[in-house]
C-alpha cells in the first residue's frame, strides 16, 4: 500500500470516528440515558452524604481534626452540587423520566440541607454533630433505595 493510500485510510477512519462521536454526543436522550444520569447523580449524592456522616461521627469521637473535616465536607458539598447540576441540566424526555425526576429532586434538596446541618454543627459540641449525622440517615436511606430500585 502506498503512502497516499495509508493517508486516505487514516483520514477515513478519523472521519468515521469523528462522526460516530458526534452522533453519540448530540443524539437526544431517551429514558435509559435519563435513568443512567439520575442514578449517577443519586450515587454521587449518596456517597457524599454517607461520607459526611462517617466524618461527622469520627469528629464527634475526636478521631479526626477540624481541617480534615472542613476539607472532607467541602468535597461532599462539591459532589452534591455537581450531582444537582448534572441532574438539572437535562430535562426528562418522557413521562417515566418525569416520575424519576420528581422522585430524585426532593432527595437531592434534602441531601444539601442535611449537609448544611452537618457543616453547621461541625464546630459545635459533639452531641449536636452526632444529631446532625443521625438526621442525615433518612436522606441517605432514601438515596440508597432510589439507587437500588432504579439501577
Amino acid at each position: 500500500m502506498r503512502s497516499r493510500d495509508w493517508a486516505a485510510t487514516a483520514v477515513t477512519v478519523v472521519a468515521l470516528l469523528w462522526g460516530a462521536l458526534g452522533y453519540l454526543a448530540t443524539r437526544p436522550a431517551d429514558f435509559h440515558d435519563y435513568r443512567t444520569m439520575t442514578v449517577s447523580a443519586a450515587q454521587s449524592a449518596y456517597g457524599a452524604i454517607a461520607t459526611a456522616r462517617l466524618t461527622a461521627g469520627a469528629r464527634a469521637d475526636g478521631r479526626v481534626g477540624a481541617p480534615y473535616v472542613r476539607a472532607s465536607l467541602a468535597d461532599a458539598r462539591k459532589a452534591i452540587a455537581g450531582a444537582a447540576k448534572n441532574f438539572g441540566a437535562e430535562g426528562p424526555p418522557d413521562e417515566r423520566s418525569t416520575t424519576l425526576r420528581d422522585e430524585l429532586d426532593p432527595l437531592l434538596r434534602e441531601a444539601k440541607t442535611a449537609l448544611d446541618e452537618i457543616e453547621g454543627a461541625a464546630d459545635g459540641v459533639p452531641a449536636e454533630l452526632r444529631k446532625a449525622a443521625a438526621d442525615a440517615a433518612g436522606v441517605a436511606g432514601g438515596l440508597a433505595r432510589f439507587i437500588a430500585v432504579h439501577s
Binding site: 449518596y46 462517617l54 475526636g62 478521631r63 479526626v64 481534626g65 481541617p67
Partner: protein, 405 residues
C-alpha cells in the same frame, strides 16, 4: 550501611511510583466497589513491574547506560521517538496528578483549598530538584512515605473479609466490563512507564556497575512488593469501610479516612503525611523522568548529579514539564480525574515501553553474558502479552463503562 542506603532508591521508586495519587484513589475506589476481588491484580502488577524493573536495573548496571538511551540506539530514532512522545505525555499528565495530590494532602492537613497550594508545591518541587542532593531527597521522601504503613495496619485492625480475596467476580450491582476496566487501571498504575525510566536512570546516576546487580535486585524485589503491599492497604481499608455502605470513593479524603477511624487523629495524620511524601516523591520522579527521557533521546547531558550548569537543557525540560503540569491543574481540572484518564492512556502506551526493554535486555552487545535467562524471557513474554491485551482493551472498556461509570 552504604548498601542499605542504596536500597532507599528502590523504596522511593516503590513508594512514589507504586503508591501515587492514582494508585491511592484507584485502589480505594476498586476496594469500595468490588471489595477485595481485585487484590489479584495488585499481585500481577507487582510481579510485572519487578520483572521489567529488574531488566532495566540490569541494563543500567551492566552497560552503564539508561534504558531509554539504548532503546534509541538499538531500535532507531523513529521508534524511539514514538516511545518518547507517548511516555513524555503520560509522564507530564502523571506529574500534574502528583502535584495535585500533594496539594490535596496539604488541604487535608490545614483546610485551605488545594488550588492555593499548587503553585507553592511546584516551586518547592523545582527548588528541591535544583538544589537538594539526590540522596537527601531519596531518604527524606522514601522514608517519610513509609508512614503509609499505618494504612496497612489499619486494614488489619478494621478486619476486612479476607476470605473474599478469592472471589474473582464482580459483586451484585456491578458488571464484568466495569470489573475489567478497574483491573486494567490498577494494572497500569503498577506498571507506569516512568517507573522503569526513573529506576534505570537513577541507577546510572548512582554509578551502578555489574557489582551492584544485587543492590539493584534488592531494590526491585523489596521496594516494589512493599509498594504493592501499601497499595493493598488502601484496597483493603476501603473494602472494609466503604464497600458495605455501597459508597464510591473518589476523593483523597475518603481514601485516608479509614486510618482515622482505626487509630484516631494520629493514624489520620500519619496517613496524610504518608500520602504527602508518596505523592511528592512521585512528583520528583515524574519530573526527573520527563527530563531523563527527552535528554537521553536527544543525547544531551543529563542527571540530577550533574551541576545544573552542566545539564541546562535537562533542567529546562524538567522546569517546563512542571510548568505545563501546573498550568493543567490551574484550569481546575480534578487531579483525581486527571489521574484516572492518565492510567487508561498509560495502559495503551505500555507496550511502547516494555517491548523495547525486552529487546535490549536480550542484546549481548550491551549485556554480554548478563542477558535475560530463559525464566526472565518467559516471564517477560507473558507480561508482554498481558500488557498488549490491556492496551487493546483499555479504550473499548473506557467507552463501554463510561470511565468505570
Amino acid at each position: 550501611m552504604k548498601r542499605l542506603l542504596a536500597v532507599t532508591l528502590g523504596i522511593l521508586t516503590a513508594i512514589g511510583g507504586f503508591v501515587d495519587i492514582g494508585d491511592i484513589v484507584s485502589t480505594s475506589e476498586a476496594g469500595a466497589r468490588f471489595g477485595l476481588s481485585h487484590a489479584w491484580v495488585l499481585v500481577v502488577g507487582v510481579v510485572g513491574i519487578c520483572v521489567y524493573a529488574e531488566m532495566a536495573g540490569r541494563v543500567a548496571a551492566v552497560s552503564g547506560r539508561p534504558v531509554f538511551d539504548l532503546v534509541r540506539e538499538r531500535l532507531g530514532p523513529r521508534v524511539a521517538l514514538v516511545n518518547l512522545v507517548g511516555s513524555y505525555l503520560i509522564t507530564v499528565a502523571t506529574l500534574g496528578a502528583e502535584i495535585g495530590g500533594v496539594a490535596l494532602a496539604l488541604q487535608l492537613l490545614n483546610g485551605a483549598p488545594y488550588l492555593v497550594w499548587v503553585p507553592l508545591v511546584a516551586v518547592v518541587l523545582w527548588l528541591a530538584l535544583w538544589r537538594v542532593r539526590f540522596e537527601t531527597l531519596e531518604r527524606v521522601f522514601g522514608l517519610a512515605g513509609l508512614a503509609l504503613i499505618v494504612v496497612l495496619v489499619s486494614a488489619f485492625s478494621l478486619r476486612p473479609a479476607f476470605g473474599t480475596v478469592t472471589h474473582l467476580t464482580p459483586p451484585a450491582g456491578e458488571n464484568w466490563p466495569t470489573y475489567w476496566f478497574f483491573a486494567i487501571a490498577l494494572f497500569a498504575s503498577a506498571m507506569t512507564p516512568y517507573e522503569v525510566f526513573f529506576f534505570s536512570s537513577g541507577g546510572v546516576e548512582e554509578h551502578w556497575t555489574p557489582r551492584d546487580l544485587n543492590v539493584s535486585r534488592v531494590n526491585v524485589f523489596v521496594g516494589f512488593p512493599l509498594g504493592g503491599l501499601l497499595a493493598f492497604g488502601f484496597l483493603a481499608t476501603s473494602a472494609t469501610v466503604f464497600h458495605p455502605l455501597g459508597v464510591r470513593v473518589d476523593t483523597l479524603g475518603q481514601a485516608v479516612l479509614p486510618a482515622g477511624l482505626a487509630y484516631g487523629q494520629i493514624g489520620l495524620a500519619l496517613a496524610i503525611v504518608g500520602v504527602f511524601a508518596a505523592t511528592f516523591g512521585a512528583a520528583m520522579e515524574t519530573s526527573l523522568s520527563a527530563g531523563y527521557t527527552v535528554a537521553q533521546y536527544f543525547g544531551w547531558a543529563w542527571g540530577k548529579m550533574l551541576r545544573p550548569r552542566r545539564a541546562t537543557r535537562f533542567h529546562l525540560v524538567v522546569l517546563v514539564s512542571i510548568l505545563v503540569a501546573v498550568a493543567a491543574l490551574l484550569t481546575t481540572i480534578d487531579p483525581i480525574q486527571l489521574t484516572e484518564y492518565m492510567l487508561i492512556f498509560s495502559a495503551i502506551a505500555l507496550p511502547l515501553t516494555y517491548l523495547p526493554i525486552l529487546v535490549v535486555a536480550n542484546d549481548r552487545g550491551y549485556l554480554g553474558n548478563k542477558v535475560n535467562g530463559r525464566f526472565a524471557n518467559v516471564l517477560g513474554l507473558v507480561y508482554l502479552v498481558i500488557v498488549v491485551a490491556a492496551a487493546v482493551a483499555a479504550i473499548p472498556l473506557m467507552v463501554m463503562t463510561g470511565m468505570g461509570g
